[in-house]
C-alpha cells in the first residue's frame, strides 16, 4: 500500500511560505536531495514498484528544459530482486530481518544531475515515463553549492535526537519553519538519532523522511550517525538503512579531503568547512583512521569558518553525562585536541536531550570537565548582552570554540546536572538556526513555538590574543528534580476546606496585562469580573467558560480573599488545583508556587511544561511560605497559563485546604 503524506501536508500548510507545498503521492519515500556540490546534486526517491524514471530540470519551474541521462541513474533493490533492466543497478539495499528492512517490492532510484552552475536554483520534476509524479510545485527545487571559495553567506538548520515521529518532533520542525519565515535554508545538519528506536528502514521512512519531506525535497541534509541508527547500521562496513538513505562524500566530492568512507566526511559551502564524524562505532582514538583523516582534512582546508558535528557530546550534563560515558569522554580527550589545534569554531552534537551552549572555550580535555583556565570569554555571546565572542580572522589554532548540544529535537528532554563550561542550559525542545556571513556567525536556539531562546555570535577580525579566565562565570546548578514539588501531590484524604471548590473568585481574562500590583492584598479588584472556579475552556470541566481565550490570550488572573484567625497551623495549608498547563501562585503579593513555568510572569512567562488537567486535583503545600500568612485578611492570587495560544483547552480550578493531622 502506498503511504500517504497527510502529516507532511498538514505540517507544510502550518509551516508558512517556507514550506507550503503539495506532497508527492506516488512515492514510497518522497524525493529528496543529497550530495550537493557546485556542479551537481543527487536526487533520491523510492517507489513500491519498478518504474521508468525520468528527471527533468531547469532554472524555472515552468521551463524544465534538461533531462538526466539514464547513465547517471542507478536503481537499488533488496538482494535477489530483479527488474528495471534499462537502469544500471546500484548496491543492494540493506536486508536485516523483515522489521528492519524495506519491503521486497521497493526500489530506490538515485539520479545525479550534472553540468550545473554553482550557486544557482534549479527546479525539477520526476516522471514515470510520460506520467508526472511530482506535482507542479515550486518547492521541488534545489540550490547548488557556491563555487569553492566563493564569498557567500550560509544559513543552516541543526537538529538532533528528533526522529521519534512524535508531536515534539513535529512542533520543533514547525517552530523552525516559523522562525525561518521567507528565508531559505542552504543546508541542514542532523547530529544523529533521526530514526528511533533502532534506525530501521521503516523508521527512517516514517520518522525522518516523511516528517521532513517539505525541507528534504529542496535542502540537503548532511548527517552524522547516532546510536539509534547504529543499532542497524555499521560505520565499519558502511552498511545499513542509514547508509542506504544518505549519500555522503567519500572522495572529497563536495570539498575536503577523501575519507574513503561515508561514516566521516567533510564538505564546503563557500568559505565554511563542515566536518561530520562518527562518534558511535568507529575508533575514536588519536591513532585511528578517523583521527588521521581529520588531521589531513584540517591541514588542507582554506575556509574561513570551521563547523564540526557528530552525535556524542564532549560536554554535557543533560540526559547523558560526558564525565562518565566512554564515547563522550573519548571525543573530548582524543578528538577535540585535534579539532582545536586545527582552528574549529563551533561543534554541534546531540545524544543528550537538552540545549547546552558553551562559553568561548579551548583546551577543556580533562575528565571531569572543569571551567577553570579553559574559558576565553565567559559572557553570553549576545551582542545585545555581554557582547559577541571575538576571534582572530580565518582559522587559528586554539582561538576558541563554542560547543552546542542540540539533542532537544524531539525525544524526551531532561537534565542530570550542570556542565561548568556551559553558558546557556535549556531543558526545552528546539533546534538551532545558524547564519554565517563574512566574519560573523550567529547561532540561535528556536523553541517549538518558533521563539528565540538563545543567541550567540562570533565575530572574527584581525588578531585576537585570547586570555584564559582562571575562575569564569558559572551556570546555576541544576535544581534537583522533585517530582512532587513540580507536579504536586495526590490530594490528602483528610482535609478541611478553607476556600471551597467552585467558590467565586475575581478574575481577569483578557489580552491586556493587569496592573503590576494585581497580586498584592491592597490591589482594588472591583473592576474585575466574578465567577466560580474553575476557569477555562475546551475540556468541559469549567464553571466559568472562557470562550474567547483560544487564539487571543494565554494568561488568566484570579484573586480570592480568605481569613485566618490562627497562624499556628498554617504549615498545613495548601493549594489544591486542577490545571492545564501551568500556573504561578502568590500569597499576599509574594510568589509562593511556580508550577510548569520556568521563568517570567504574565505574558512574558516562558518555558512551559505542558500538563493536562484530566479532572485531577493536585495538592501543593504552602508550608515553606508559612511566614507569608497573616492573621486576618489574606489574598491568594493565581495566574494560570496556557502553553500555546491555539491550545485546544485550558483549566485553572483552585481551592484552598488545610490537611488534618
Amino acid at each position: 500500500m502506498m503511504r500517504t503524506y497527510l502529516g507532511t501536508l498538514t505540517l507544510a500548510l502550518i509551516g508558512g511560505s517556507a514550506s507550503i507545498a503539495a506532497p508527492a503521492q506516488d512515492f514510497e519515500r518522497a524525493p529528496y536531495v543529497q550530495m550537493a556540490t557546485h556542479e551537481s546534486i543527487r536526487l533520491v526517491w523510492r517507489t513500491d514498484r519498478a518504474m521508468n524514471p525520468v528527471v527533468r530540470f531547469g532554472e524555472a519551474a515552468g521551463a524544465l528544459d534538461r533531462e538526466a541521462a539514464t547513465g547517471d541513474m542507478i536503481v537499488r533493490r533488496l538482494p535477489g530482486q530483479s527488474g528495471d533492466p534499462e537502469i544500471p543497478k546500484g548496491p543492494d539495499l540493506f536486508q536485516g530481518n523483515p522489521q528492519q528492512s524495506a519491503r521486497e517490492t521497493v526500489r530506490q532510484y538515485e539520479v545525479t544531475l550534472k553540468g550545473l552552475e554553482g550557486g544557482r536554483t534549479y527546479h525539477y520534476a520526476i516522471f514515470d515515463g510520460d506520467t508526472r509524479m511530482t506535482p507542479p510545485d515550486p518547492s521541488y527545487r534545489f540550490r547548488t553549492h557556491p563555487a569553492p571559495g566563493t564569498e557567500t553567506g550560509v544559513l543552516f538548520w541543526v537538529v538532533g535526537d528528533s526522529g521519534t515521529g512524535g508531536d515534539a518532533q513535529r512542533q520543533v520542525y514547525e517552530g523552525m519553519l516559523k522562525a525561518l519565515g521567507d528565508r531559505q535554508l542552504d543546508l541542514y545538519l542532523h547530529v544523529g538519532d533521526m530514526a528511533y528506536g533502532s534506525g530501521t528502514d521503516p523508521e527512517f521512512s516514517n520518522n525522518f523522511f516523511a516528517v521532513y519531506d517539505p525541507t528534504l525535497r529542496n535542502t540537503v541534509c548532511w548527517p552524522a550517525m547516532g546510536n539509534h541508527e547504529g543499532a542497524t547500521s555499521k560505520g565499519k562496513d558502511g552498511i545499513g538503512p542509514y547508509y542506504d538513505g544518505y549519500i555522503c562524500p567519500t572522495r572529497g566530492e563536495a570539498g575536503g579531503v577523501p575519507s574513503g568512507t561515508e561514516a566521516y566526511y567533510s564538505f564546503d559551502y563557500g568559505k565554511v568547512h563542515f566536518i561530520s564524524l562518527d562518534s558511535h562505532d568507529l575508533d575514536r582514538k588519536p591513532t585511528g583512521a578517523m583521527a588521521k583523516w581529520l588531521r589531513a582534512d584540517l591541514e588542507q582546508t582554506q575556509a574561513d569558518w570551521l563547523v564540526a558535528f557528530w552525535h556524542h557530546p564532549p560536554y554535557t550534563k543533560g540526559t547523558h553525562d560526558s564525565d562518565k560515558e566512554g564515547q563522550l569522554i573519548e571525543m573530548r580527550e582524543h578528538i577535540m585536541p585535534i579539532l582545536e589545534a586545527g582552528g574549529v569554531d563551533v561543534v554541534f552534537t546531540g545524544h543528550s536531550h537538552i540545549w547546552e551552549r558553551s562559553m568561548l572555550m579551548d583546551g577543556a580535555y580533562d575528565t571531569p570537565t572543569t571551567a577553570k583556565g579553559v574559558i576565553f570569554d565567559d559572557g553570553d555571546g549576545d551582542p545585545e548582552g555581554d557582547g559577541a565572542y571575538r576571534k582572530s580572522e580565518g582559522l587559528q589554532p586554539h582561538n576558541g570554540t563554542v560547543q552546542v548540544v542540540t539533542g532537544n529535537g524531539g525525544a524526551g528532554i531532561g537534565r542530570r546536572g550542570t556542565c561548568p563550561v556551559m553558558r546557556r542550559i535549556l531543558v526545552e525542545h528546539g533546534s538551532a538556526l545558524v547564519q554565517i556571513d563574512g566574519n560573523t556567525l550567529v547561532g540561535v536556539m528556536i523553541d517549538k513555538h518558533g521563539e528565540r531562546r538563545d543567541l550567540f555570535q562570533i565575530e572574527k577580525a584581525g588578531v585576537v590574543e585570547q586570555t584564559r579566565i582562571a575562575n569564569p562565570w558559572q551556570p546555576e546548578p541544576a535544581q534537583p528534580v522533585n517530582e512532587q514539588a513540580h507536579k504536586g501531590l495526590k490530594m490528602p484524604p483528610q482535609h478541611e476546606v478553607m476556600i471551597p471548590r467552585g467558590a467565586e473568585w475575581a478574575y481577569r481574562a483578557a489580552k491586556e496585562a493587569p496592573d503590576k500590583e494585581w497580586a498584592t492584598p491592597d490591589f482594588d479588584d472591583s473592576s474585575w469580573t466574578r465567577g466560580p472556579a474553575g476557569f477555562g475552556y475546551g475540556d468541559k470541566d469549567d464553571k466559568t467558560v472562557l470562550d474567547d481565550m483560544k487564539d487571543h490570550y494565554k494568561v488568566v488572573y484570579v484573586r480570592k480573599e480568605f481569613e485566618l484567625d490562627d497562624l499556628s497551623t498554617v504549615d498545613r495549608i495548601g493549594l489544591a488545583v486542577s490545571y492545564d498547563d501551568a500556573f504561578i501562585a502568590y500569597l499576599n503579593g509574594k510568589e509562593v508556587l511556580r508550577v510548569g513555568v520556568d521563568r517570567g510572569r504574565g505574558e512574558s512567562a516562558r518555558g512551559f511544561h505542558l500538563h493536562e488537567a484530566k479532572g485531577e486535583f493536585r495538592f501543593f503545600s504552602l508550608a515553606k511560605s508559612k511566614g507569608v500568612f497573616r492573621k486576618g485578611r489574606n489574598v491568594i492570587a493565581i495566574e494560570g497559563h496556557n502553553g500555546n495560544l491555539n491550545s485546544s483547552d485550558f483549566t485553572l480550578d483552585p481551592f484552598l485546604v488545610k490537611t488534618r493531622k
Binding site: 528506536g197 533502532s198 575519507s259 574513503g260 568512507t261 583523516w293 584540517l298 589545534a341 531532561g414
Partner: protein
C-alpha cells in the same frame, strides 16, 4: 525467529526510550526491570551488555553476553562483543577462542573479513606478527576492496616484518581502491621509509603548495631533502615545522600526533633531548605506541657515538 515475547519486550523498551530520558544508566535500569519479568530475553540481555560496555562495566557485560550466547550460540555480533570484552578483561585464551568462533560463524565476504581483521589485531598484540599478516591476508581474500583501517593494519604488520615493497604496494592499492587520503599519506610515509624519494616528492610538493597547515609536509620534505643530500633545505623545513607546531600544540592537553611530529622534527634537527621530551609527553597523551616506538629507536640510533 525470535519469540513474540521478545519482540514485545523490545517494543516496550523502545517506547520507554522514545518517551523518556535514556542515559546508559537509565537504559540499564529499564532493561533490568524488564529482564526481571522476562529474564531469558536475549534481545534485552544483548542490549544491556552494549550499555554495560559503554559504561566500561566489562564484568557485567561478560555475564550478559554469556547468557545470550547460551541461548543463541550462532550470534556473530554477540560473539565478537564477548571476544572484545574478554580481551579487555585480560582473559586471553578465551578471547582467542571467541575470535576464532566469530570468524567461523561469519558469512563469507565483508562479515567474515571483519572477523579476520579482529583476529589479526589480536595476533599483532600478542606479538605473533606472521600470524597477524596471515589473518589480514585472509580478510582481503574475503573482501578485496577492504576498509581504510585494514590497509593501515596490514601496512604496520608488513613494516614490522621488514617487507617494504609489500607495504608500498598494499597502500597504493588501498588508495586506488578507496581514494582515502589517509592511505595516500601512509603511502608517502612508506615511500620515504623505503627511500623511494622520487615517488614521494611530487605529492609532497603539491601538498605543501595547497595545505593551510604545513608542518607534517615540511617534515616529509625535510626527510626528502636530507635523504637527497640537502641538509640546509631540510633544516629550513624542520624549523618552519617546529614554529607551526609550537603554535598548534596545547600546553596542557596536546594532540599527541603533533607532539610526535615535533619530536621527529627536533630529532632530525639534532635536538635529541627535546625530541625525547616530546616523545615522553606524546606517550603520556595516548600517542600511537608504534609511532612512538619507531621514533624512539631512531633517536637511540642517532644518539650512538659515531665510531
Amino acid at each position: 525467529m525470535r519469540p513474540l515475547a521478545t519482540i514485545g519486550g523490545c517494543l516496550l523498551l523502545l517506547a520507554a526510550e522514545v518517551a523518556g530520558h535514556h542515559g546508559p544508566e537509565e537504559v540499564v535500569a529499564e532493561l533490568t526491570a524488564q529482564l526481571e519479568m522476562d529474564p531469558e530475553n536475549v534481545e534485552l540481555l544483548s542490549r544491556r551488555a552494549t550499555e554495560y560496555r559503554a559504561l566500561g562495566m566489562h564484568a557485567q557485560a561478560e555475564a550478559d553476553l554469556r547468557l545470550v550466547l547460551g541461548k543463541h550460540p550462532q550470534s556473530i555480533a554477540d560473539t565478537e562483543s564477548l571476544a572484545r570484552v574478554l580481551w579487555a578483561r585480560g582473559k586471553c585464551p578465551e578471547a582467542m577462542d571467541m575470535i576464532q568462533r566469530a570468524v567461523e560463524l561469519a558469512q563469507p565476504g565483508r562479515e567474515r573479513a571483519a572477523g579476520w581483521i579482529l583476529k589479526s589485531e589480536w595476533e599483532l598484540e600478542q606479538g605473533r606478527t606472521d600470524a597477524a599478516l596471515a589473518a589480514c591476508r585472509n580478510a582481503f581474500q574475503e573482501d578485496p576492496e577492504g576498509m581504510v583501517d585494514w590497509y593501515l593494519l596490514r601496512s604496520r604488520i608488513e613494516e614490522r616484518l621488514g617487507r617494504p615493497a609489500d607495504r608500498l604496494a598494499g597502500l597504493k592499492a588501498g588508495h586506488e581502491a578507496l581514494k582515502s587520503i589517509v592511505l595516500r599519506n601512509a603511502w608517502v610515509d612508506a615511500a620515504l621509509d623505503a627511500g623511494h624519494l622520487d615517488e614521494a616528492a611530487p605529492v609532497i610538493e603539491t601538498e605543501l603548495a595547497k595545505s593551510r597547515l604545513k608542518s607534517s609536509w615540511w617534515i616529509r620534505r625535510a626527510r626528502l631533502r636530507l635523504g637527497a643530500g640537502d641538509p640546509d633545505g631540510g633544516t629550513q623545513d624542520l624549523k618552519a615545522a617546529v614554529v607551526e607546531l609550537d603554535r598548534r600544540i596545547h600546553l596542557q592537553r596536546p594532540d599527541a600526533k603533533l607532539l610526535v611530529d615535533r619530536a621527529q622534527a627536533r630529532a632530525l634537527l639534532g635536538d635529541l633531548d627535546a625530541a625525547r621530551d616530546d616523545l615522553a609527553l606524546a606517550r603520556e597523551h595516548g600517542a600511537d605506541p608504534w609511532e612512538v616506538g619507531r621514533l624512539a629507536n631512531r633517536i637511540r640510533e642517532e644518539a650512538k657515538p659515531t665510531p
